[in-house]
């Protein structure tokens, strides 16, 4: 599975586990804060992705980058994917 699909799958899973529903379509330009996932949800998403993919890009960053859209979020995972 490519990173984008993996993120999508876990994203939906976390949304469900935190009793939230998707507020907009999960397209590339979807604004993360409008998706329905709250801050704890993001923490869980990042933690779950860490387990699935084996890395947490947000701890690997030297300077903090905060993604706004779903595409930016996925790009961060692509950029920091270990060789």
């Amino acid at each position: 599975m490519n990173i984008e699909n993996e993120v999508k799958e876990i994203f939906m899973d976390v949304l469900e586990s935190t009793d939230k529903t998707l507020q907009c379509k999960l397209t590339n330009d979807a604004v993360l804060l409008d998706t329905g996932l709250d801050s704890l949800g993001f923490a869980i998403l990042v933690a779950r992705l860490d387990e699935e993919l084996g890395y947490d890009p947000f701890t690997l960053m030297e300077e903090a980058v905060y993604p706004t859209t779903f595409e930016e979020f996925v790009d961060i995972y692509k950029t920091y994917k270990p060789e």
């Binding site: 704890l40 923490a43 869980i44 990042v46 933690a47 947000f58």
Partner: protein, 427 residues
């Protein structure tokens, strides 16, 4: 002195039994006679004891109480730095172990009886291990002498406070104590207990959860079961009660710092609110401003050996254990120092563990925090199953019964939980 407590017992009474060794009253007396020179050279000195086999440690505790000025009881696998620190704190220059038994021998000195300090290391599960000073009086003042036919078994290592409690309970009642070695497997332990017809077992809840999964445990003729060292939750208490019909089941609250605490015998988790009122049979208890249990006890270790003060201006020791009054009972929540902080929400691991263990098919759970770049920490759980169950089902239970920040983000199914040498979950 401890030796006097066994002196009157029948010569052929088996006192200490392990897989391959038996010490009767006569054996202990002979051992004392054979080692008079060694005892004489250790008289009124600080002696550290470090033995691989619990039964050897037990023998030397009997022989050295009343002889050494202090006995420093060392875990066999102690780290070198901790060992050096303890030896320095106790001002101890001699470690008695397998290889040094033949050293330090001087002849012809009359033995002088002294009041021996027992220096016991705290388990250090939540902080650095410390030495706490006790004596035979403080360690035995709450012991009730039981039936002479009881056979005791301890699941604790003898170098720990709880292990010493069981050892003294058996010895002071003139009962046989079955001692397992540190390396004994669970199945071997059960076989040893069956061979010796053990009637009283003492151990941590974590250990009992494991035993309940071992074939043969439920057929032991148990009359008394004591749980201590960790929170005994209702599911485990009920399960032991239905497995050993008629057995007396109690959970003991004690910490090395507070000396002997108190026991709860009504088969229910937590303790009755009446314990918080003054009662001369109990240590004085109260709930502190931070929600932790404070305890004032006759037997409180007077202080840490390194001088740190344990007692507040009113004579109370802060146990560091969080409690909560719920439905007319005072319930233990967990260690104040173990709290997981999820984005400012505090999660007590033991509460989540109890919830997970209440799920049908979950035998044991360990809950801990994992660093998280967004919210500081998230909750993780390692789970031992007793029947087949998938993580999805466990997650569904969590969703129904726990707040979002309390739900384990990671659930790992494991074969067993790591435990410390004192039988508690390793944290």
């Amino acid at each position: 002195m401890l030796f006097n407590k066994i002196y009157q017992l029948p010569e052929n009474k088996a006192l200490l039994v392990s897989e391959d060794l038996v010490y009767t009253t006569k054996d202990i007396k002979e051992c004392r006679e054979n080692n008079l020179d060694l005892l004489s050279s250790l008289n009124e000195k600080v002696v550290a004891l470090q033995f691989k086999d619990n039964i050897d440690l037990a023998k030397w505790l009997i022989l050295l109480d009343g002889i050494a000025s202090s006995i420093l009881i060392l875990p066999f696998d102690i780290q070198k730095a901790t060992l050096e620190l303890f030896l320095e704190q106790a001002q101890c220059g001699f470690v008695l172990c397998e290889s040094t038994i033949n050293e330090q021998v001087s002849k012809g000195r009359q033995l002088r009886e002294v009041k021996t300090n027992w220096l016991i290391s705290t388990s250090g599960t939540t902080s650095k291990p410390k030495l706490v000073s006790h004596n035979l009086m403080s360690l035995t003042n709450t012991i009730k002498v039981g039936s002479p036919n009881f056979v005791w078994a301890s699941l604790y290592d003898l170098n720990r406070f709880s292990g010493i409690q069981v050892f003294l309970q058996a010895l002071c009642s003139g009962n046989k104590l079955v001692i397992k070695n540190g390396t004994t497997s669970l199945t071997q332990t059960i076989m040893l207990f069956q061979r010796e017809k053990v009637t009283c077992v003492s151990g941590t809840p974590t250990y009992f959860r494991k035993l309940l999964m071992v074939k043969g445990f439920s057929s032991l003729p148990l009359k008394s079961i004591s749980l201590g060292g960790e929170i005994a939750e209702q599911k485990l208490l009920s399960s032991l009660k239905s497995t050993f019909v008629g057995a007396k089941i109690r959970h003991i609250y004690a910490s090395s710092e507070a000396g002997v605490g108190f026991s709860v015998n009504d088969g229910l988790a937590g303790f009755p609110l009446s314990y918080l009122e003054f009662n001369e049979d109990l240590p004085h208890l109260k709930i502190g401003p931070e929600g932790t249990l404070l305890i004032k006890s006759e037997s409180s270790a007077s202080n840490y050996v390194n001088g740190a003060n344990l007692i507040d201006e009113n004579g109370f020791v802060d146990t560091g254990d969080l409690v909560e009054v719920k439905d007319g009972r005072c319930m233990f929540l967990g260690r104040a120092s173990g709290i997981i902080n999820v984005g400012g929400n505090k999660v007590v691991p033991e509460i989540i563990e109890e919830f997970l263990q209440s799920i049908q098919g979950v035998n044991a759970a360990k809950v801990y925090g994992k660093n998280n770049s967004f919210v500081g920490e998230v909750v993780c759980a390692d789970i031992v199953l007793s029947t087949s169950l998938d993580t999805k089902t466990i997650r569904d239970y969590c969703k129904k019964g726990l707040a979002v920040h309390e739900q384990p983000v990671f659930i790992k199914i494991v074969d067993e939980l790591d435990t410390t040498s004192s039988g508690k979950i390793k944290r």
